[in-house]
């Protein structure tokens, strides 16, 4: 897919952190072309029984950017991850990574090409220590070959490098104190962190994180967000699934919205979050208020007062009287008719 990247590849001089060139090649629309895509998927479909879990007509992931994939539960985000990384086979379609077709390529080869994913249901090797988990991610370790495994002289050097790399990451992810503990003894959030750190051990070109911040405490989220942003500076591309809109707003350069398997919207976060279709299907009316600070809460309170629909209680709320229930359900029916 080099037809639409006539511009010269960004060279080393470009600082990806501050690169403000447009991401889309033309107009911003669902399935639009990107200036410099790293992943291109075409007509990728996957159905389970009757339902189309994924039905992506066309999707490009921009290189050297942080792309958020959002959408309601069951939208097909995780399934799309599985398809792109070879963990699941689509019913049809083709997709490629850096110009190489990935159809039928096994997951480990996809990872070796530089496309590494994490799992929504965290996968850590419980009976290995945190450090061993990290080392497993290390690449080009000659000692992983049976022919060289017996001779420590052949792999001890690389092992030291891998360990040093792991130590740096563990410190960033606040796991350095845990490095000799079994991974099974970690808390849920710590496992998420370990999995993310481990995926970075592979030194991927594209890292795909499935709900990386689920269960991570707010203070650590802040520092991890910075860390993810910094991955861009190291030349990595990030694609992540996340339900936390603050995180999406803070770090995503581009947002792709899925619903019922389809790409329904995409664009820069500011624009996408104003899109009425996205607000209806996913975000809800008061999504743009940051509840993380006092200002936000005041703002929300003001908004709620002004918003008729948000008034849920009646004066005798809590008392269940038949006529109230009946009139309420009448009202609801009217409202539904109105919105149709």
């Amino acid at each position: 897919m080099s037809t639409h990247s006539e511009e010269p590849r960004p060279s080393g001089e470009i600082d990806y952190m501050t690169d403000t060139r447009p991401i889309a090649a033309g107009d911003t629309a669902p399935g639009c072309k990107k200036r410099d895509p790293i992943v291109v998927a075409e007509n990728v479909t996957r159905s389970f029984g009757g339902i189309n879990a994924v039905d992506v007509e066309y999707l490009e992931i921009p290189r050297h950017k942080i792309t958020a994939l959002i959408g309601p539960n069951g939208a097909g985000k995780t399934t799309l991850f599985n398809l792109l990384t070879g963990f699941d086979m689509p019913n049809s379609g083709k997709w490629e990574f850096e110009g190489n077709s990935l159809a039928g390529v096994s997951p480990y080869k996809v990872a070796r090409m530089g496309m590494v994913r994490t799992f929504q249901l965290t996968k850590v090797m419980g009976k290995l220590t945190v450090m061993e988990n990290m080392r497993l991610g290390g690449s080009e370790q000659p000692g992983e070959r049976l022919s060289k495994a017996l001779f420590k002289g052949l792999w001890g050097g690389r092992e030291k490098e891998i360990t040093a790399q792991a130590n740096v990451l563990l410190e960033k992810f606040k796991l350095d104190a845990k490095k000799d503990d079994y991974a099974a003894s970690l808390s849920g959030g710590q496992r998420k962190l370990l999995e993310m750190a481990r995926s970075l051990m592979v030194r991927p070109k594209l890292v795909m994180l499935d709900e990386p911040m689920a269960g991570v405490n707010p203070a650590l989220t802040q520092s991890l967000l910075d860390h993810i942003k910094n991955l861009k500076a190291e030349g990595m591309t990030v694609l992540f699934v996340e339900h936390d809109m603050n995180m999406v707003r803070h770090i995503a350069d581009w947002v792709v919205v899925m619903a019922e398997g389809k790409i329904v919207a995409e664009g820069p976060p500011g624009e996408v979050m104003k899109n009425p279709a996205v607000i209806d299907a996913y975000l809800g009316a008061h999504h743009d208020v940051d509840l993380g600070d006092a200002e936000g809460i005041k703002e929300l309170a003001a908004e709620l007062v002004a918003d008729e629909e948000s008034i849920v209680g009646t004066e005798n709320a809590g008392i269940i009287a038949i006529d109230v229930v009946a009139s309420e359900s009448d009202e609801a029916r009217h409202k539904r008719k109105d919105s149709e």
Partner: protein, 322 residues
């Protein structure tokens, strides 16, 4: 009751060639199940392939000892691949079913009458150990109460156990072993890190199977005979008993487990027979006593699983999260 005799015969089981064979085969299972999570229920089949591979190549094709050894090893590697190619991409339980069936198939094949000329059918094969004992460097005489043949097979058997344990230990501390342990924990996570899980599982299956084949040879050489009845499914379960006794994910576990297994069997036999002979026990004959021993082993295993589930050598911490 002659306790001196009971204890000395139990002690002699400690280093018997059969114990060495069990230790080797259980070490193979440790590679399969303990380190890689591969549920092989056909280790008896691997032992049979090793024993028959060696015996047939010696008797039918008249090859020298070491060629027979290499043939036995190659046969077991091929057997491992035959089992692994269709099953290793599937869930762990499929391998268990296929291995248990394949081991039985091996046993039925060597028992069929059509192949009597080659396999000796139910009577098995004998007189193939000449080439081995011809290499005996020890002149006739008494070595710690053994003749030179018994001494030689013990030296070779336990020498092999030591070498194999060292090799397995070296492998398991290496990054290769780390990938295997990772596969045991979660193979998709290992895949997502760019490791060819299928190849690792195949390598582990072959290594454990070759250990089984070597065990099969050590098992048959001192007997001078190989018979299909010795390679039934219960043999595999005895090996798992040894493995669980000693501790799953350890190198010394299977060895110590095999020793405990045989010492306990010998002690219970000695004591039961003694009780029967002295008339203290009248409700049991010696045949029943022989069977009762295995019941006792089963009870011991259950007690172990309840009170020390990690085995003698296992790491309690590793089990804490199981």
């Amino acid at each position: 009751m002659d306790f001196g005799f009971i204890f000395s015969s139990a002690a002699s089981e400690l280093f018997s060639p059969t114990t060495a064979a069990y230790a080797l085969a259980a070490l193979g299972l440790a590679v399969h199940f303990g380190y890689s999570g591969l549920l092989n229920f056909g280790q008896a089949g691997f032992m049979a392939v090793g024993a028959y591979g060696f015996a047939i190549s010696t008797l039918t094709f008249g090859v020298p000892f070491f060629v027979g050894l290499v043939i036995a090893v190659i046969c077991s590697a091929i057997f491992a691949m035959l089992l692994g190619i269709p099953t290793l991409r599937l869930r762990a339980d499929y391998l268990a079913i296929v291995t248990i069936a394949a081991a039985e198939i091996v046993r039925y094949i060597v028992t069929t009458n059509q192949l009597t000329a080659v396999t000796g059918s139910a009577n098995g094969l004998a007189a193939f150990e000449g080439g081995f004992y011809a290499m005996n460097p020890f002149p006739a005489g008494s070595y710690m109460g053994m003749n030179n043949r018994d001494f030689f097979i013990r030296i070779v058997g336990w020498g092999l156990v030591i070498i194999c344990c060292t090799l397995v230990w070296l492998l398991m501390r290496s990054p290769w072993g780390r990938v295997l342990k990772g596969i045991r924990e979660d193979e998709n996570a290992v895949r997502s890190l760019g490791k060819n899980v299928y190849a690792y599982k195949m390598q582990a299956l072959i290594i454990g199977g070759v250990l089984g084949a070597l065990a099969g040879m050590i098992f048959t050489l001192p007997r001078g005979a190989v018979q299909p009845a010795n390679y039934g499914t219960e043999l595999t379960f005895f090996l798992y008993t040894c493995l669980l006794l000693g501790g799953l994910g350890t190198v010394l576990g299977p060895v110590i487990g095999a020793m405990i297994f045989w010492v306990v069997l010998s002690l219970t036999q000695g004591i039961l027979y003694g009780l029967i002979e002295s008339g203290a026990v009248t409700w049991l004959n010696t045949v029943q006593a022989g069977q009762l021993r295995y019941i006792l082993v089963g009870v011991a295993l259950m007690l172990l699983m309840i009170f020390r589930p990690q085995g003698v050598f296992g790491n309690k911490k590793e089990l804490a999260f199981a």
